[in-house]
Amino acid sequence: MKRSIGNLRGIAALPVLLRIVAAVLLFLLPLIVTSTYALHIMILIFISIIMGSGWNILGGYAGQYSVGHAAYFGMGAYTTLALLQYRHIAPWYGAWAGVIVAVLVGLVIGSICFRLRGPYFVLASIAVAEIVRVSALNLKDLTNGAEGILITEVPPLAIGGTVITDFTSKVPFYYAGLAIVLAIILSTRLVQHSKLGYYFQAIREDQDAAHSLGINLSLYKNVALAISAAFTSLAGSLYGVYVGFIEPGTVLALDLSVQIVMLAIIGGIGTVWGPVIGAALLVPFSEALRSNAIAQALIDSGLVGETSRVGSFLKEQLSHAHVLIYGLLLVVVILFLPDGVLGFVRKLAAKRTKGAA
């Protein structure tokens, strides 16, 4: 009897231990892995986790399916890069300016769009994001229009004369990304275990019921939007400084808005780890498609002959089809895994423990 309790404790302690090991590994990774491509993928995953988790606060917890989050991503990226390029303000200050811009504009957007519910809110969020994109195209003095902003140099980060990093390698971006990822995971947990989390979920489940229980709908929806926009904006700033070039067609596009939603939906919305899993699956997958690694692997494995019709077709076309495949993946997940990958895994685990008991 005593022993079985001890075992149970051991099992319960395991995930905590795993998490600590994972965290330590993530911190040491740039010291172990020298491949810049691996670090590049990790940074892209971090950016995706931040924007997916940011969306998750509004979409997953409060149930307001915004398909216009590229607006906040773009506002972060544009504010940070414009300040850096035209005013020589370092990005670690500019990013906060980006957060302020995104939150303020978000609250204006929210106070208009949150009057709408369900599909009407979704459409309004798309429309507003398109307005932001078209504005960025036309406000040439601020944004340089369709040409976008190319940053020529990032000032070194120094404290009291000691240079900490000059941003020539990928490592500082890796740590910046990791820090924001930890911040959003922590924030999501805090939200989940507070009055905010309960109110967000009540709004998601039934707005009229929530309203009748004393919940100020527009206040709490706007709070969710503010947290959501702040993190999405940080993701945009990180992306902008990391890639060094932004234009409305990439950082403010509807494509991006859809991608943000998919990260959360595929991973599992309304959970802390869903968007993390979504990003960890989707980023390498789309990278593999884009770099033609999947077609090459099929050919290398001998499943498809390189010179055969299928082989040459895949080699030429598969990399162009990544958006199509992304879409199919979303359909499959929505049809068969309505709670996302995380929900599916949890259900399996629950079945197993039930079977064992």
């Binding site: 507070s194 979920q201 009540a202 489940e205 019921a209 229980l213 004393g214 919940i215």
Partner: protein, 239 residues
């Protein structure tokens, strides 16, 4: 003393008067039964009182304060809470979490909200279902959950919209017991109900609505003897 006064409240939808110059008052700690045929405007009146519709005319005074025009959440915080004819469980949340959402109306602390919630869940006898998802409950338990959830907002007045609808006699009996328990706590109640036996038993006073207008008002025994009420319910030829 009247805790609620409704003065000449009207609600128009286009040319249709869903409520027309309805006036009555409810005394503190009383149970007021609101009855009338389908479409008489009972639920519309609830919606006008709790901020879901602004009344087109007239005023609602609750606890000395004019409340028409306030939002539903503000009305709830002032101490008037309602349930829904068609129950609205927060489906993916547990029974405990559902009731905690109600309790959080009065506190920011999850621990205190949990305490209040557990208390109210005990009152409606749902303690054996704490962890169950609200969406998985059968209708009888959903109705009880609905009551526990509004009780957790610590209302001075409770509006119950057909809490016995769809329940079997045994379940209805439980709800009747619950309503009488709530009365003992000093909470004023206004009850919409089609179950005539039940409403006659629990009500201190009854208001009858017909086609949006107040048809009659009085003690249960006066209402059953009122020819106008009998006619409205049974039709001209039977009167």
């Amino acid at each position: 003393m009247a805790i609620l006064e409704i003065n000449k409240v009207s609600k128009f939808f286009g040319g249709l008067a869903a409520n027309l110059d309805v006036s009555f008052s409810v005394d503190s700690s009383d149970i007021l039964g609101l009855i009338g045929p389908n479409g008489a405007g009972k639920t519309t009146l609830f919606n006008c009182m709790t901020g879901y519709y602004p009344p087109s005319r007239g005023e609602v005074v609750f606890d000395g304060r004019r409340i028409n025009g306030l939002r539903p959440d503000a009305v709830c915080r002032l101490g008037m809470a309602r349930t829904w004819q068609k129950v609205r469980p927060l489906a993916k949340m547990s029974v405990l979490d559902n009731v905690m959402v109600g309790a959080l109306c009065r506190t920011n602390s999850l621990a205190r909200a949990r305490e209040t919630a557990l208390e109210q869940i005990k009152v409606v006898r749902l303690d054996h279902r704490l962890g169950a998802k609200a969406g998985s409950l059968p209708i009888g338990e959903r109705k009880k959950l609905e009551v526990a959830r509004v009780l957790a907002t610590r209302p001075k007045m409770l509006l119950l919209d057909e809490v016995m609808g769809g329940l079997n006699p045994a379940e209805s009996e439980e709800i009747i017991g619950l309503i009488l328990d709530i009365k003992k706590l000093g909470v004023t109640q206004m009850v919409i109900e089609h179950n005539m036996k039940a409403i006659m038993r629990i009500s201190d006073r009854i208001v009858v609505l017909n086609s949006g207008e107040k048809l009659a008002e009085g003690a249960p025994e006066e209402i059953v003897a009122d020819p106008a009420v009998v006619q409205a319910y049974l039709g001209e030829s039977n009167a």
